[in-house]
Amino acid sequence: MNTMIDVLVAIFVVIGVFFAVVSAIGIVRLKDVYSRAHASGKSATLGVIFIMLAVFIHFLSQGVMNAKILLAILFLFLTAPVASLMITRSAYRNGVKLEKNTVIDDLKEMYEIDQNQSK
C-alpha cells in the first residue's frame, strides 16, 4: 500500500516538476513577454498544482487531510489569471513590443481610440 502511494506521489511529483521545468524553459526561450506569460501562467501553475497534489496525497495516506494544501491550489487557480492579466496589461500599456511574428493586435485599436478621445 505504502509503496503504491509512494509511486503515485512520485509520479505526481515528476509530472509537476516536468511542467515546472518546461515553464522555466519557456520563460527563457519564448520571444516576447506575452508569450512567456503563457509559460509562466499555465505550466508553472499546473506543475505546482501537481506537486501540491502529491503532497496532499502523501499526507492523506498518513491519515492527515492537509486542507491548507488544497487551499493553496485553490488560491493558485484564483490568482494566476489575475496575475497574468496584470503583467501583460502593464507590459502592453508600457509599450513593450510584441514579437515579430505577431499576426494580429486588436488591442492597439482600443488604445488608439482612447487617445483620440482624450484629445
Binding site: F75, L78, V82
Partner: protein, 143 residues
C-alpha cells in the same frame, strides 16, 4: 495620458481572495503558540489582505469603508502587550509572567487559555496597524 485601466476582474476576484486570506491570518494568529505563526505573522497576513483591497480599489473608497485610525490601534496594541506584563506584576509575580491552563467548557470541550495569547494579540494589532499605516501614509503622499 492613457486612461485608467479597467480593474473589474481584479476587484471581483479580490473580494473572494481576501476572505480566504483574512481567515487564514486569524488562524495564523491563534495557532501560533503551537504551530508556525503568531501575532506577527498573523498581523502581516491580515495587513496583506487589506492591502489587496487597497491595491484593487482605491484609497478613498476604502477609507470610507474602513474607518479605523490605525495609529491609535498601534498605541492600543502596545498597551495590550505591555499591560499583560503589568497585570502579572500587580498580582505579585514577575513582570511579563504568563499563565495558562486547560479548561473544559460546555460544548467547546477542552481548550487552552493562555495570557501569552493576549500578549500575542497586542503584537498582532501593532503589526497589522503598523504595516497599513506605513503603506497608506506613503501612498497618500502625492505632493
Amino acid at each position: 495620458m492613457m486612461q485608467k485601466p479597467n480593474n473589474m476582474m481584479l476587484q471581483t476576484l479580490a473580494r473572494l481572495i481576501i476572505l480566504i486570506i483574512l481567515s487564514f491570518s486569524i488562524y495564523l494568529l491563534l495557532a501560533g503558540h503551537n504551530s508556525p505563526g503568531g501575532g506577527f505573522v498573523g498581523g502581516l497576513m491580515t495587513a496583506s489582505a487589506i492591502l489587496i483591497l487597497y491595491l484593487s480599489f482605491d484609497l478613498k473608497s476604502i477609507q470610507k469603508a474602513i474607518k479605523f485610525d490605525y495609529i491609535k490601534i498601534i498605541g492600543m496594541g502596545l498597551l495590550f502587550a505591555s499591560l499583560t506584563g503589568v497585570v502579572s506584576m500587580l498580582f505579585g509575580f514577575p513582570f511579563l509572567k504568563h499563565f495558562f491552563d486547560y479548561f473544559t467548557l460546555p460544548i467547546l470541550g477542552e481548550v487552552e487559555l493562555t495570557t501569552a495569547m493576549v500578549f500575542d494579540l497586542g503584537v498582532y494589532f501593532v503589526v497589522l496597524a503598523s504595516a497599513l499605516t506605513i503603506i497608506l501614509t506613503i501612498a497618500e503622499d502625492d505632493k
